[in-house]
Each structure stands twice: as C-alpha cells, then as structure tokens.
C-alpha cells in the first residue's frame, strides 16, 4: 500500500505533473532516450529552482514593505501605504510552489489542456495562430487557473473553465494585434504572443487619434546611453536599491536609527540592511528566471512540434522582442516615458490610498517599450510617447485594482504575499470573469 500512497502523492506535485507533460512531449517528438530523461529531469528541477528564487524574492520584499509601513504613518482611516511587486512569473511560481489546496496541479493541467484547446481553436477557426511564448503560456494558464480555483467550484470545473479561457486567449489575442503587427513588421509573417496585447492596442488606438505614422521615431536621434538599461539585472538593481534606500530613510525619519535597528533590522546597520534587501530582490529574480528557462526549455519545443503537425502553416505568435529590431528608438522612448509614467501613477495611487506597485524595469522596458512601438506604428513620435506612457500609467491602476480587490483570490494565502499580476491580457479578462462570478455569488 505504501507504494500507492507514494505514487498518488508524487503525482499531485506540480513539478512532477509538469515533468510528465515534458516527458510526453519529448516522447511524441521521438527524441533519443538520453534527451527524454534529461529533459524531464530539467523540467522538474526548473520548477524547484523557481521555488528557491521565490523564497529569496519574498525574503527581500517583506522587509521593504515593513520599512514602508514604519515610514508612512497610519492615516486617519487607519490605512498606511501598502506596496507590492508586480511580477507575473513570481506570482505563478509562488502559488504553484506553495501548492495550497492543490492549485499547483490545477495550473499544470490548465497549461496542458489550455494549449491543446488553443490548437483546436486555431485549427477550426480562421485565427490560424500558434502561441509559442513559453513563459506567457505558463503565466496565463496560471492566472486563469488561480482565478477559477478561487471561485466556489469543483477542481475539475476550474481546470475546464481555465483551459477554455486560456485557449481562447492564446487564439484571439494574436488575431487582435495582427493589424498593428503588419504595420510594425511590414509583413504578415509574425504574430504577437505576449500578455501585453490589450495595453499595447490601447497605445496603438490613442496613437492613431493623436499622431501621424509618417513622423516615425526611427528618424530621430536617441542617446544610446539609455541602452545600458536594457540589462535587466543592472537596471532592476539600481531601481530596487533606490526603492529600498527610500523606504529605509522614511522609516528612520519616523522611528530613528535606534528604533530601526531594534525593530526592523535586528541590529544590522539600517542602510546596509536596506541595500541588501534591494539587491537580494534582484538575486531572487535572476534565480527565478533561470528556473523559468529550465521549466519551459523542454515544453516549448514539444508544443511547437505538436502545433506544426496539427496546424501546418499557422503563424507563430512570438515573444515581444521580435518587434524590437523594427523600432529600436521607439523602444528606448517607451522605456524612458514608462519609468516616468510608473512614478506618476505611484504618487497618484498613494494619494487615493490604493496599494502601490513598486517600479518595475522589466515592465518599463518590455511593456512600455512595446507599447511605444505599437503607438509609433499608428501615430509616430506622439503615438510612441502615448503608448509608452499609457502602458505604465493605466497599467499601474489596473494592477493596483486587481491587487486591492483580490480579483485572483487571496494570493497571500496561496503563497504569493506582496506579489501581483502585471499582464493586462490576464487581468482585464480576469476582472470581467470575476465580476460575473460575483453576480452569481461564487466569487
């Protein structure tokens, strides 16, 4: 009997389920035995490494939040400043790793069935796109699985509903972006496969209203010095050091150096404590991303191989950097205005007492940068500025809304304390589904 308990419990581990999905894919692609074995192991290890990265991230974030709480006195309504980090991979990784009430398994099954449903839709509808961005497949499967799991419905129904939502998203989002993608790339070969679609399309829409695509960003000179911000490890370090130092100074103003070292840093020098938390976050982020790379390295080729067999000639929907070579100036403009937009939104959110997402260089570069490229395609320079700014500004309100109202359920209880989703393609449908669920009294 003991062996049966062992197997049952093993098969409930998210890492093992994901490993089995990779195993099936590798067998389907008829890979040699050694690659099948190593590929399966690496997928399992990837999920476990993600868990290690999450631990380091949360260890850094909790003290930063403590410093903000100590530094910003409680207001008249009893609410101080609540800060959090918006980072999709961290949310899904943390929730899957903690696996509270088996939600990790629900995410893994949604990943598999959501992608298969996507292939069915791409095969039978006119939207012949294959969504191949591995981490976004995982993130959206995770977001919809977490969303439906948080409702008062059986697990099987949650997997089914989340798979339908995920598959529909993978099929429809590339179709929605394709008119602008044709303008950006000048051909119809590549589709857009990233969770930014809705906010990028907002940028493209506003760009069309206020700008002129003839006045493109690519004819102006942009200082190349900003390029060093493209190294995510460095730019995130700088930003997080600044955030942690700022929080520490606020706390010291309130409680004094003695109070800080007594209550918050356990005797360590206050500034050393704060700076270590800032770079500690980045160290955790890099470990997490390394794990994500290992997790999807085996699953993506398998999904791609299956898609090529099922839907020959479908357009690949690819990760956002495929559009970067088409408008590098717009990308840098988006990065700069994106940082400004985040700071403006943070101040505005703080003033109205909503939770404040800390600045994210990943979002400023990959998302505001892409928003600017979309805006440039329809509205030139003005469109680029609008696209980059709106992504940060509207995005920060949207992210704060989902966090404040717990659209995806109680993420803290699920293991993702102080973390929240970023991608509008999960948050906007998530809010709509959540509102409907509330109407029916199951959310």
């Amino acid at each position: 009997m003991e062996i049966i308990f062992f197997i049952i419990e093993l098969l409930q581990l998210p890492a093992i389920i994901l490993g089995l999905i990779a195993l099936a894919g590798l067998l389907l692609l008829r890979k040699p035995a050694n690659q099948v074995v190593t590929g399966t192991f690496k997928t399992v290890l990837g999920m476990l490494i993600i868990g290690v990265g999450i631990g380091a991230i949360i260890d850094a974030l909790i003290p930063i939040q403590n410093m903000f709480e100590a530094g910003i006195p409680v207001g008249p309504e009893g609410a101080g400043l609540e800060t959090f980090v918006t980072f999709d991979e961290a949310v899904v990784g943390a929730v899957q790793d903690a696996n509270v009430a088996g939600v990790g398994g629900i995410i893994a099954y949604t990943l598999l069935f959501g992608f298969l449903f996507h292939l069915v839709l791409a095969r039978i509808t006119p939207f012949r796109y294959v969504y191949l961005t591995g981490h976004m497949i995982w993130i959206h499967a995770g977001a919809f699985a977490i969303l439906f799991h948080s409702f008062d419905i059986p697990d099987v129904a949650a997997v089914a509903a989340a798979s339908i939502a995920t598959g529909a998203y993978f099929t429809l989002a590339p179709a929605l972006a394709q008119p602008v993608m044709r303008k950006i790339t000048g051909n119809d070969e590549i589709a857009f496969g990233h969770g930014q679609t809705l906010l990028n399309m907002l940028g493209a829409g506003v760009g069309k209203l206020i700008g002129n695509p003839e006045k493109t960003t690519e004819e102006i000179e942009v200082k190349e010095g900003w390029n060093f911000f493209r190294d995510i490890a460095i730019s995130t370090s700088i930003v997080m050091l600044a955030v942690a130092a700022f929080a520490a100074v606020l706390a010291v103003i309130q409680v004094g150096i003695g109070g800080f070292q007594e209550e918050i840093s356990n005797g360590q020098n206050w500034l050393v404590f704060a700076l270590l938390r800032g770079v500690g976050f980045v160290a955790g982020m890099l470990v997490l991303l390394y794990g994500v790379r290992m997790l999807i390295a085996e699953i993506v080729p398998a999904f791609k191989g299956i898609a090529e067999k099922v839907i020959p000639g479908a357009k690949p929907a690819l990760d956002v950097p495929v559009i970067f070579p088409f408008a590098p100036n717009a990308l840098l403009i988006g990065l700069i205005v994106g940082v400004i937009a985040q700071i403006v939104a943070m101040v505005a959110l703080g003033l109205i007492g909503w939770p404040v997402p800390l600045p994210s260089m990943i979002v400023a570069f990959f998302a505001s940068g892409a928003g600017a490229i979309f805006g440039n395609a329809t509205g030139g320079r003005r469109g680029a500025v609008a696209g980059g700014f709106l992504w940060g500004f509207v995005g920060w309100f949207m992210i704060s809304f989902a966090f404040k109202f717990q659209v995806f359920g109680d993420l803290t209880e699920m293991g993702a304390a102080g973390l929240a989703f970023t991608v509008p393609d999960a948050i906007v449908p998530g809010i709509l589904i959540w509102l409907v669920a509330r109407l029916f009294g199951i959310a």
Partner: protein, 95 residues
C-alpha cells in the same frame, strides 16, 4: 560546437532562435549544442558562436566569438546563412 542563442530574458526569442539553429545544425550534419541564454550573463558560458536578434548589436560589441545578428527570427534562410557564416568564421580561427 557550443552555440548560445540570446535574448533579453533568455527564454523567449532565444528559445525560438535555438530551435531554428538546431534545425540548421541537423540539416548540415554539424554536431553541436545550442543553449538559450540571457544577454546579460552569457559571458559566463563557454561558447563558440553567438546568435541573437539584431537589436542586440550594441550589447554584443566586443564579443570574443563570432556573432550572427538576425533581423527576422522567423526567416529560416537568413538564420541558416548567418549562422553558417559565423560557424565558418569560428572554424577559420582554429576552433
């Protein structure tokens, strides 16, 4: 032969490049391993050739190994041509 396919995060575009380069190696009968890696830390890896999207031009200036810069990551002909040129360059250097 070890080839690094690069992008900003090390698992999106670089994964697509990795799969395309693996196809090239298989078709040409070249033995090799392709890794997808992030541009910020690929220097920690021992590789013979680097493949990346052309918007990474500036970050790859001064790389010690031949670099293939790809304009369109879905253009198989472009990838084959540039990767094979970089491999030949590597072999000419006595690698």
């Amino acid at each position: 032969m070890r080839i690094a396919a690069l992008c900003g995060m090390g698992f999106g575009t670089s994964m697509m490049l990795k799969l395309a380069v693996e196809d090239v190696l298989a078709a040409e009968g070249i033995k090799g391993e392709v890794l997808s890696w992030d541009v910020g830390s690929f220097r920690s890896q021992q590789v013979d050739v680097v493949v990346a999207s052309s918007d990474m031009r500036r970050q790859l200036e001064g790389a010690e190994v031949p670099v293939a810069l790809i304009d369109s990551v879905v253009n198989k002909d472009e990838i084959r041509e540039k990767v094979l040129a970089a491999i030949r360059e590597h072999q000419a250097e006595g690698g």
